[in-house]
Amino acid sequence: MGFKETGVLTLQDMVKAGLMPTEERLRKGPVALLECPEQIPCNICVSACPFKAISMDKVYDLPRLDENKCIGCGVCVAKCPGLAIFVIDISKSDKAYITLPYELLPRPSKGARVKLLNREGKVVGEGIVVKTWEYEKTWVVTVEVEKDLWFDVRAIKVEGV
């Protein structure tokens, strides 16, 4: 079953759509994953990127990432209307860092322990929030997770106070 049936993207889907950065680039440090596999008419990420690392000819093209220009700053994470961009950092030896958009309550805070949810919303572990910032009510949250979860964790559940 493909993502049109499941609503869940696989690594193969990303590769097939030409959206996957090279392994070499992934190992170097934080980089954006544009998880946008359909040709929707939208180019907000192109104008959002301060480093002009994302490009598109027509408004409905799939976004192309210049992985050498991308520094993994996460501005696109906050601005993507589809909440479809994540910044992944697997350059450290034991942990992975996932930067994701968050638009629910309660608001996350730095240092908080949160539940890690995979692409189907299943709890796959716990992680620590290491950074948060907000843009137009979209929180951009970086969580530290077990390294092998870098492609699985796509949401967090913040426990109420």
């Binding site: 609503g7 993207l9 907000i44 027509k58 589809g82 949810l117 189907e120």
Partner: protein, 486 residues
């Protein structure tokens, strides 16, 4: 008594107005200025508002935008009032109406109706994305524009869209829908050429180019409008779906729930099931999560998710299952939904016995498509075509959005169900065509560029192929339209 208002929301800061009180069936209900009577009652815990015409079935809220007949009530003695677009105010006397009402007695209210004649350059029926955008373009060039909406607030469905819009920054891409509405309305309010008339229902077209509009207010006015051009941008209404007990209170249009939670900040329920996985269903499911409602699932009759993957992924990663190949077969409950049952369907979309799944929910949201609000066009005799894939009866138009009625234009969902970005664009195209006729030299070139973007770029996206094809079927050449007019 419990207050169902949302205090803290991740996206919207609800700024409530002054406290007012009115009576409902003799009981005092407190609400906030800016709320509709229905929203105020919902916040106070009322869920049943009327009965079927025969009086034997209960009616809850359904469309929340003044289109369906679920909330017909008696307000200050006037029956058949849609309380979803009736603003709360002090001292209002609201009574629920059971079945067909008696003829209203001649009241003081009726006697106060006065007539007013207004001449404008352009009458725009509808204050949603298409109407407001057209008004902006026309007003900027000094044309006198009257925009009408039957709601007491302009903005149409934009005011309840909490997501950042897709597209290009030219058409507000990256800006949340309700923020776009605020921006457009604030711009228009600074332009003395543009008047937005709320609570104004354009009820008919008359000889010699006159339109009749009912403007409701402290002093109700029968507004007779003479306009040289008209843009009808009256939007669309939600469809229902056939299944057992589909009228139980708690079953409402997806937009009905959006209105409650995003326009008024009232929680529509605690546990929801969404029917339909088009973008509307997916987006409303996400908005329910943001409003603190548990979403038990989304049922989709087709084998694939209908809407965009990115919208589906947003709800999937928060644990919302999407049941493709499923439809709702019945709802159960005494005087409101308590349970909903979905079932797998076979290749002919017939439920497969033994595959039922039950959900204990108090809210079932139908996101199964929209139909254009074409009644005014129909009364005018505008030529239409039946196109199920675009929502039903759709007005024929030229690519400049002009109908078979010369100088009468259409834009937005009324002209075939699509979405807000194309509604902005169609509004602009209609407006530039009017400007061309008014002798503005740059109008043709501006319109040409917009048309090129719309047809040769935006609508070339494979994910909007279906609406592009539908719109092509109702778009005729100038020559063909001339022939049809004769």
């Amino acid at each position: 008594m419990r207050d169902y208002r949302i205090i803290e929301h991740p996206i919207i800061d609800f700024r409530r107005g002054r406290k007012v009180s009115f009576t409902y069936n003799g009981k005092i209900v407190e609400a906030y200025e800016g709320e509709s009577v229905l929203a105020g009652l919902y916040a106070a815990g009322f869920r049943v508002f009327a009965t079927s015409p025969q009086g034997d079935r209960l009616r809850g809220a359904f469309c929340m935008i003044g289109r369906c007949s679920s909330c017909l009530s008696r307000v200050n003695g006037i029956p058949n009032t849609r309380i979803c677009i009736e603003p709360v105010r002090d001292g209002l006397v609201v009574e629920s109406q059971n079945g067909i009402p008696d003829i209203p007695l001649a009241s003081g209210e009726n006697e106060r109706v006065v007539e007013e004649v207004k001449e404008v350059d352009v009458l725009i029926v509808g204050a949603g994305p298409a109407g407001l955008k057209a008004a902006e373009v026309l007003g900027a060039r000094g044309l006198r524009v009257l925009v009408t909406t039957d709601h007491f607030r302009a903005g149409g469905q934009l005011v309840k869209q909490t997501h950042k819009f897709f597209g290009d920054t030219t058409y507000y891409g990256g800006v949340r829908g309700f923020k776009i509405a605020e921006k457009l309305i604030s711009n228009l309010s600074k332009n003395p050429n543009v008047e937005i008339s709320t609570r104004t229902f354009v009820y008919g077209y008359f000889k010699e180019g006159f339109f009749g509009a009912e403007k409701i207010g402290e002093r109700s006015v029968n507004l007779i409008v003479k306009a040289r051009y008209v843009i009808v941008a009256s939007g669309a209404s939600e469809r229902s779906l056939l299944f057992e007990n589909n009228d139980l209170p708690g079953i409402m249009g997806a937009g009905g729930a959006q209105t409650l939670m995003n326009e008024y900040g009232v929680k529509p329920g605690e546990d929801a099931l969404v029917i339909g996985s088009g973008n509307v269903g997916l987006i409303v499911a996400y908005q329910l999560l943001q409003a603190g409602v548990r979403v038990h699932g989304i049922a989709e009759v087709l084998r694939e998710i209908g809407g965009w993957f990115v919208h589906a992924a947003k709800v999937r990663r928060h644990g919302v299952p999407i049941y493709t190949g499923h439809t709702i077969v019945r709802a159960e409950g005494k005087d409101r939904v308590e349970k909903a049952v979905i079932s797998q369907v076979d290749r002919d979309f017939k439920p497969v016995p033994g595959t039922e799944k039950e959900f204990n929910v108090d809210l079932v949201l139908l996101a199964v498509g929209l139909q254009p609000n074409y009644s005014l066009l129909s009364q005018m005799g505008v030529l239409m075509k039946y196109l199920p894939e675009a929502g039903g009866l759709i007005p024929l138009r030229t690519k400049h959005m002009e109908t078979s009625f010369r100088n009468v234009f259409v834009a937005g969902d009324l002209s075939g169900i699509e979405e807000a970005t194309t509604a902005f664009i169609e509004g602009e195209i209609a407006a530039y065509t009017i400007l061309e006729r008014e002798g503005f030299a740059d109008a043709i070139e501006k319109r040409g560029r917009i048309l090129d973007y719309l047809w040769n770029e935006y609508r070339q996206s494979p994910v909007v192929q279906r609406s592009r094809d539908a719109k092509l079927k109702v778009t005729v050449s100038e020559e063909e339209m001339e022939r049809l007019r004769r």
